[in-house]
Symmetry: C2
Subunit: 228 residues, 2 copies
C-alpha cells in the first residue's frame, strides 16, 4: 500500500470459515481492511485465514481467532453463521459488540422448506440480533442473496445488495462495505424491512428450483446509484 | 379479433377505477380478456370503463359494474383497492369468489411510515385475503411494485413481477396474466412469501426517496425465464 492509504477499519467475520464469510473476507482484505476471521475453534479460523492470505497479496492483513477474540479486536462485526447458530453466537460476543456495528448476513431458513419464508418471532434475524444485543449496538442487514462463488472472481457481481439498518449511519457504514466489496448497494430502509431482504433468499431459491438456475439474484431498475 | 381467437377468461378488477386497476385493465383488454371494472358505485365504474373503451380498439370488452356484480360475472378477480378497504371489499364479495381465483395486488402500507414494512397479523395482505375468503378460494399475489404510469404505454415495463400463491395452479394462472400484460413474471413460491413481494414496495419507496428516483423496480438476474 502507498503511504497515503488511509488506515481502514477492522472487520471481524464471525463464522468466517464458511464459503460466504471467506468470500467477503477476500474482497475486503483486497480493499485494505484488516480482517479477523472468527470461528468457534481458533485453529479452524487460522487455517481459513492462511488460505486467504495465500490467495491475496502480501500486504493483506488477515488473522484467524475465536469468534470472541475476533469481535473484541474489530470495529465492525459481520455475522455469517447458519441461522441455527445465530442466537448462541450473538450471546457469546454480546459484551464485545457494545458500541459497535453488527452487519447481519444470516438468513433464517427453516429446513427442509427453504423455499418458504419463515421468519423468527422478532420479525427477522436482524431484528432478533438487535433484541439480543440491545440498543447500544447498531445493526445492519445485508449480503444475504449474493452467490459466494462469485466473490473470489474479481469481476462485478450480478446481484445488487439491499441494506437495511437501525439508523442511517448503520446503513451508510454497511453500504461502504458493499462498495468496498465491488458490489452495488441500496439503502432499503429501516431494520424492519430486513424481512424483505432476508425473505428474498427463499424467493430466489424458489426461482432457481422452478427455472433450473443456480444463481438467481436481483437488480434494482429505474433508479441511479451514486456508487455504481 | 379473428374467428380462431380463443375465448379468453373474464377478469373483474375490484377497485378498478384507480390508476393501477385501469392500467391493468387496459393491457388485459388489449390481450382479449373480457374486463369488468368494479367499484363501490356502478356509475364510477362505468365512467372508467368508457374511458378505457375510448382508448382501445372497438373489439375490446370492458364493462363497469359494482364490485359485487363484477365479481359475480368474472372467472378471475383482481383486487386493487387501498389497504384500508381490503377487508371490507373482500367480505362484500366473499360468496361470489368461491371456487374462483383472487389475484391480490394490495400493498398493506400504513401511512405515514410507508417506507417501513408493516404487515397485518396474518403475515401479509394476501394471507389475510385467504383467511377472509376461506380454502375454496385460491389466492395469488402479484403486480404490487409496478408503476401504473407505464401500463398505458405499449412498451415493455422495466420491472419484473414476482408471483406467490396458494398453489402452483394459482401462480400459473397469475403468471399467464403477467405475460398477457406484456411483463415478465416469476414464480416466487408459496403465499407465505407474499410478505417479501408486498414488503418490497416499501423498500422501493425508500430507494426512490433516498436516490431521487420515481420508478424504482427490480429485475431478476441469473435465471432464464421461458416467457421472456
Amino acid at each position: 500500500m502507498s503511504d497515503n492509504t488511509p488506515i481502514l477499519m477492522s472487520i471481524a467475520i464471525l463464522g468466517g470459515t464458511g464459503k460466504e464469510g471467506k468470500g467477503l473476507a477476500y474482497r475486503w482484505a483486497k480493499a485494505g481492511y484488516r480482517i479477523y476471521i472468527g470461528s468457534r475453534a481458533a485453529e479452524k479460523a487460522q487455517s481459513a485465514a492462511n488460505d486467504l492470505a495465500t490467495m491475496l497479496a502480501d500486504n493483506a492483513f488477515i488473522e484467524g481467532k475465536t469468534n470472541l477474540e475476533a469481535a473484541q479486536n474489530a470495529d465492525i462485526i459481520v455475522l455469517t453463521v447458519p441461522y441455527a447458530a445465530h442466537r448462541e453466537t450473538l450471546e457469546s460476543v454480546k459484551d464485545a459488540l457494545q458500541g459497535k456495528l453488527l452487519v447481519d448476513v444470516t438468513v433464517p431458513l427453516v429446513p427442509p422448506k427453504v423455499t418458504k419464508v419463515q421468519m423468527p418471532a422478532a420479525g427477522s434475524a436482524a431484528q432478533e440480533a438487535r433484541q439480543i444485543l440491545g440498543e447500544n449496538v447498531e445493526v445492519a442487514s445485508a449480503f444475504q442473496s449474493i452467490s459466494y462463488e462469485h466473490l473470489f472472481e474479481d469481476e462485478a457481481v450480478e446481484c445488487d445488495v439491499l441494506v437495511t439498518g437501525t439508523s442511517k449511519r448503520a446503513r451508510d457504514e454497511a453500504l461502504s462495505l458493499v462498495s468496498a466489496a465491488n458490489m452495488i448497494g441500496w439503502d432499503a430502509g429501516p431494520i424492519e424491512n430486513s424481512v424483505v431482504v432476508e425473505g428474498l433468499t427463499s424467493v430466489l431459491i424458489n426461482i432457481n428450483k422452478r427455472y433450473g438456475s443456480t444463481h438467481a439474484g436481483i437488480k434494482i431498475t429505474g433508479a441511479k446509484n451514486p456508487t455504481a
